[in-house]
Symmetry: C2
Subunit: 161 residues, 2 copies
């Protein structure tokens, strides 16, 4: 698997991966009916850097890195990761997470924080824990899950080194 | 004390209150040298609603309310408050906080979350606790305090009713 910086040519494949995830409304807080141009803005324009994971030239996953706060909190980064449904369970997210930590250090960040890990997304919670992230908060009823209604969400954190 | 919605005529007075607070770099994460137009954007344009606290027609405090996350997390609001240095210790922040909770409910929010209450700002932490907010996380070294360097920051939360 190769991981490389996003370029505009990747967008159609990325949108094919993001669209069903956002439409499902189970893991990301964006409006499930978010239009493509807004999704592109939040995923590829607003972040500091966006990446694609490629297997045989096909995009199988994508993630972004951005500062989690303005200047005086900008040493902590935030990332979002999505894996193509057909490529789940094959370690793609774990590899992207490892790579993102190296990139984050290179970009000058000293810690990584996920602000809203949906508690019902147990595979994600377990994956980030295996990657060394701690649950440092449980935000009560913070996520309005499309199927389950209001569920808790975690803040997860790791110092980078 | 009167609390009313912000209008553009209040901006010069608000900026006189915000400027020394942002320049100090001890409580808000914005770059201490944030230019006025950016400060105006984050304080009065980006939020859902901004308010001023008036005493004898003079602005003595200001706060904003905005959703803390996009759609599926948008039932939780976030607020920021600043009191004029000359009006501190007179209950202005407490009154703004009470008012903001009523307004937040009216705007349809069901909880309020502060994402980055700087731990060294002990009077603020104590004030929000008196207002019924719980510390639900301590983000390690999350704030680069201009005098103290890296200090912890709290996530504080309250259900509204």
């Amino acid at each position: 698997m190769l991981i490389e910086p996003y370029t505009a040519k990747h967008w159609p494949e990325i949108w094919d991966i993001l669209r069903p995830v956002f439409r499902a409304g189970e893991t990301y807080p964006f409006a499930p009916d978010i239009p493509e141009n807004q999704a592109r803005m939040v995923w590829s324009d607003a972040p500091m850097a966006t990446y694609v994971a490629l297997r045989a030239d096909k995009v199988v996953g994508t993630f972004y890195i951005k500062p989690n706060q303005p200047k005086l909190g900008a040493h902590v980064c935030n990332c979002g990761y999505v894996v193509d449904e057909a490529a789940r369970g094959q370690g793609v997210a774990a590899q992207m997470c490892v790579f993102s930590q190296i990139e984050a250090l290179r970009l000058g960040f000293s810690a990584m924080q996920y602000n809203l890990v949906v508690s019902s997304n147990k595979s994600a919670v377990a994956l980030w824990q295996r990657q060394g992230f701690d649950i440092i908060a449980t935000l009560p009823k913070a996520f309005n899950h499309k199927r389950l209604g209001l569920v808790d969400a975690h803040v997860m954190h790791k110092f980078l080194s």
